[in-house]
Subunit: 472 residues, 2 copies
C-alpha cells in the first residue's frame, strides 16, 4: 500500500492523512459491534491512509490512481452508519468527503438545492431554512450525517409519511464511477428515458461509486404545524388506525406509534400503563392542518384511541435525536441495538409478535420493544430496540448476533422485509437474499462487476460473500 | 431463424404463430413513422414468429431457447407505444404477453393488486373498481396498453399530479432476465437494501428483461371528486399558478393547462379567444376537496385566472382518450405527432417558446401547440402537438424528423429534459445523451451488456448505436 499512498500524496499533498488519530477516526462507522470491538481491542487494522479530495475531479483522480494500483477505496461521509459499512482494514484507502461541503446552487422558483456530498445534514437544513424553505428530511442522525451519505445509504427521515424518503427528495446526483468517470443526472422533474440511473447510487453504500453532489427538492416552510397525541388499548389498534387514515389519504409528516413498553419509556406519566402512544405532526396550509388533525383523531377514536397531551409532540421534537451513546451502554456491561424492518399492513402485527417472542427466548435479554415511525399506503416499518446483559461480558458479541439473527429470521418468516432504512452494511449482508431473493443478489453482484470489475469500492460491504451460507 | 422457430414450436405448439396476419400485427407499434412506412410500403420485414407463452416459466424457456440459438427477442405488450420501440424485423422472435393476463392476487387490507403483465390496463382498472378501489393510473392509452407495458415504458397517467406515475405505484415486479432467470422483488413497502432493482425494469423498453407480473398499490375510491376550470391571460400565468399551488402542497390528481391554440381546439366556446384554459380535478375526503378547490382557485385568481364552466372537466373526462387515428390523418396528406418533454419551473416557459419558435420555421407546418399535464414540485411537462402538410407527401418522413429534431434541440437548449413519458424507442435514441449525458449512456450500455451480453433483447431500441453521431 505504500506505493499508492505515496502517489496520492504527490497528488493531494497534506490532504492525505496517515497519522494514527486520523486513521483511527476512519477505522469504522457507528456500528455497535465496531464499538464493542474497539473496546475489546479486536478491531481490524486502520486504513492505509485517509484522503480528503476537495473537488469532484480530485475524487476521480483518487479513484483512477487506486484502480491503477489495485487498491481498495472506502468512501466515508459522516461515519454515522450503524450497520458496519465502514471497515476498511489495512489494505484500503478511505476517501473522506469532509472537504466537499457547501451549498452549490439554490433555486427558490424550482425549489431545488444542490449540495456537495460532504455537507452536514443539519447544516444543509439550516442553510435552506434561512431561505424560508425546508428539506424536510430528518434522520435521527441529521447532526452527524452528510447529504451524500443520505443518498448512499438510502436514508429515511422522521417526516417521511408525508414528505417521503431520500429517494423521493433526490432530484439529481453527481457521482464518480470506480474508473473515474463522472456521471451527473439531470435536474429534470421526471423522465422516461431508460432505467433511472440515480437509483444505482441510492443504497449503493459506497460499492458502486462515490456520490459527490446531491440536488434535493426543498419545500417552502409550512404555513401551519400542529401536533397531537393519542393512546390506544393495544399496538394492533394503533397500527390499524394508521393504516386507515393513511389509506384515506391523510398523511401527516410525522406518524409514530410506540408499543406499551416504549410508551412508558418516553411518555410517562401522560400515557397510562398498558396503553400505546401515537404522536402525529400535521403540516401544511392552516385549514388543511385542522381538517387532517381532526380526521386522524376521528379514525383513532373509532379504534379506542384517547387524546392525550399535544405537548408530547413538542417534547418529542426537542428530544428526538438525543440517544445514549453505545459506548455508555457498553460501559454498563450491556449490549444494545436497534433493528428496523418493514412489512405490509396485513403482516406487520405478526412481525411484531414473532420478533418479540423470539427475542424473549434470549436468556440475557433485559428488554425488547418497538415503534412504527414510517408509514406508507401498503404498510409500515417497525423499529425494534433490544437490550441484553450477559453475565459474561465477553459473550456480548454472540448475544448480539443471536438477537439480530432472531429478529431478521422472525421478520422474514412473517413475510416482512429485513431492512427498512439503516441499510445493509456488514450486519445484514449474509441475509440480503431474504430481501432481494437469490436472483436479486446475483443481479446486484453482476451490476457491481459491470461497474467495478476489480471489486475495489468498499469490498466486503453490502453483498454477501460468494457461496457464503445465508445464515452466516 | 427456421431452426429456432421449429424449436419453439416443439415447446409451445400452436402458440407459435407464423401466419402472415399474426406477423403483420406484431411488426411495429403505434409510432406514426411506422404507420407512414406501412402506408408507403417501406416497413422492415415482419418478425420470424410470434410466441405466446402462458406462464412465467414458458417466458423463461423461450428466452433460454433464443439465447442458445442466438436469436433476438422483442417483448410485445399492447403495441400502443408511439416511439418505435417495436421493430423486430425478420431476424427476431416477438414474445407477446397477450396470454399472460388476469388478476393474480388482491389484498384490500394492504391495498395491493398483482396482475400478470399482459393484462389490459382498462380491464385491470375496472377489475379493481369492482372491489371499491382504483389504481389511479390513467395513461391516454389505458384501453390499449398493458400493465406490464406501463412498467417497461415508465408510463405516466393523467392523475399523476397527486397519485404519481407508474414508478410511484409499483410495489413489486416479476421479470425474466435474458438468460431465463426469474427475478421477483418483494412486496415490502420500502427497503434500504442496495439499489432498487425494480428500477432496472421501469423504462427498460424490452431491452433488459421481460416483465411478467406487476404488483400495484391501489387506493380506495375517493369520497369526493370535483372539477373546476379557469382560464388565464397567458400561458406563463397559468404555469405560475400551477407552480404556486403545487409548491404550497395542493396537488389535485388532474392538472392540465392548455395554451391558447389548444384551448380553442378543446374548450370553445367556454374559453374566450386568447385565453389559456386550466382544468383541475380534485379528489379525496370531501372537506379537503372543497378546501383544495378553493385554494387552487384563489391562487389562480391572483394570476388573472377567471373561473369557467366546471362541466368542462366532465366533458374532458368523457372524451379524454378519443384521438384521431394517425392513419386517418396520414390519409389526408398530413404528418402529425405529439412530443412530451419536461423542465423545471424556471425553464419551462423558455422551452415552450423556443420549441414553438423553431417549429414555426418549418415551411409546411400547419399548427403547433402544447399543454402541461403532469406537474411536480420542481417542474412540469409540456406535451407538444405538431401538424404539417408538405406539398409533396413523400416528404413527410423528412418533415417529421425535422420537427422532432427541432423540438428536442430547442428543449435541450432551454435546459429541459427531452423525454417525459412516452419513452425513447427509436425516435429518441440518438439523442439519449441529451437526457442521460454521455457517461449515463455508457453506463446504461454497460448495464445492458451485464444483463444481456449477446444483445438479444430488443436490439436497436432505446440505446443509440455505438459511435453514432448524437444528432443522427
Amino acid at each position: 500500500m505504500s506505493g499508492i499512498v505515496e502517489t496520492l500524496k504527490r497528488d493531494l499533498g497534506d490532504r492525505v492523512l496517515t497519522d494514527p488519530e486520523a486513521l483511527a477516526a476512519h477505522q469504522r462507522d457507528t456500528w455497535v459491534l465496531g464499538e464493542l470491538r474497539a473496546l475489546e481491542g479486536t478491531l481490524p487494522a486502520p486504513p492505509a491512509a485517509v484522503v480528503e479530495p476537495e473537488s469532484t475531479e480530485e475524487v476521480a483522480q483518487v479513484l483512477r490512481r487506486c484502480r491503477e494500483a489495485g487498491a481498495a477505496v472506502v468512501p466515508f461521509g459522516g461515519g454515522s452508519g450503524v450497520c458496519g459499512a465502514i471497515e476498511p482494514g489495512a489494505d484500503a484507502i478511505v476517501l473522506s468527503t469532509r472537504r466537499l461541503t457547501g451549498l452549490v446552487a439554490f433555486d427558490p422558483v424550482d425549489g431545488t438545492a444542490r449540495f456537495r456530498a460532504g455537507t452536514n445534514g443539519l447544516e444543509a437544513e439550516e442553510r435552506i431554512q434561512k431561505e424560508g424553505f425546508t428539506i424536510g428530511h430528518w434522520p435521527q442522525s441529521i447532526a452527524l450525517s452528510t447529504v451524500g451519505g443520505w443518498v448512499a445509504t438510502r436514508a429515511a427521515g422522521q417526516y417521511s409519511t408525508a414528505y417521503g424518503n431520500i429517494e423521493d427528495l433526490l432530484v439529481a446526483v453527481e457521482a464518480v464511477l470506480p474508473d473515474g468517470r463522472v456521471i451527473r443526472t439531470r435536474e429534470t422533474p421526471r423522465a422516461a428515458a431508460g432505467p433511472d440511473l440515480r437509483q444505482l447510487f441510492l443504497g449503493s453504500e459506497g460499492t458502486l461509486g462515490v456520490v459527490t453532489e446531491v440536488t434535493l427538492a426543498v419545500r417552502p416552510q409550512p404555513e401551519a404545524s400542529r401536533g397531537q397525541s393519542l393512546h390506544f388499548p393495544d399496538f394492533d389498534a394503533g397500527l390499524e388506525a394508521i393504516r386507515r387514515f393513511v389509506q384515506a389519504d391523510w398523511c401527516p409528516p410525522v406518524v409514530r406509534l410506540y408499543d406499551g413498553r416504549e410508551s412508558q419509556r418516553h411518555f410517562r406519566p401522560a400515557c397510562p400503563s398498558g396503553r400505546h402512544m401515537l404522536i402525529a405532526l400535521h403540516e401544511g396550509p392552516a385549514a388543511r392542518v385542522e381538517l387532517e388533525l381532526e380526521a386522524v383523531a376521528r379514525v383513532a377514536r373509532e379504534l379506542g384511541g384517547e387524546a392525550s397531551d399535544p405537548g408530547l409532540v413538542d417534547h418529542w421534537l426537542e428530544t428526538r435525536n438525543q440517544v445514549p451513546s453505545f459506548r455508555s451502554l457498553l460501559d454498563q456491561g450491556l449490549i444494545v441495538d436497534t433493528i428496523e424492518v418493514a412489512a405490509t399492513w396485513s403482516r406487520i402485527g405478526e412481525v411484531y409478535r414473532r420478533v418479540l417472542d423470539s427475542l424473549g427466548e434470549v436468556p440475557s435479554l433485559l428488554a425488547a420493544s418497538a415503534h412504527s415511525s414510517h408509514s406508507y399506503r401498503t404498510g409500515t416499518n417497525l423499529y425494534f430496540t433490544f437490550v441484553a446483559k450477559p453475565d459474561d461480558p465477553t459473550e456480548r458479541a454472540n448475544v448480539y448476533r443471536d438477537c439480530w439473527r432472531r429478529t431478521l429470521e422472525a421478520t422474514h418468516a412473517a413475510g416482512g422485509g429485513i431492512a427498512h432504512h439503516h441499510g445493509v452494511g456488514r450486519v445484514r449482508r449474509a441475509r440480503l437474499a431474504d430481501e432481494l431473493g437469490e436472483t436479486g443478489v446475483s443481479l446486484l453482484r453482476e451490476l457491481k462487476a459491470a461497474l467495478d470489475p476489480d471489486g475495489l469500492l468498499n469490498p466486503g460491504n453490502l453483498l454477501p460473500d460468494v457461496d457464503a451460507p445465508r445464515s452466516s
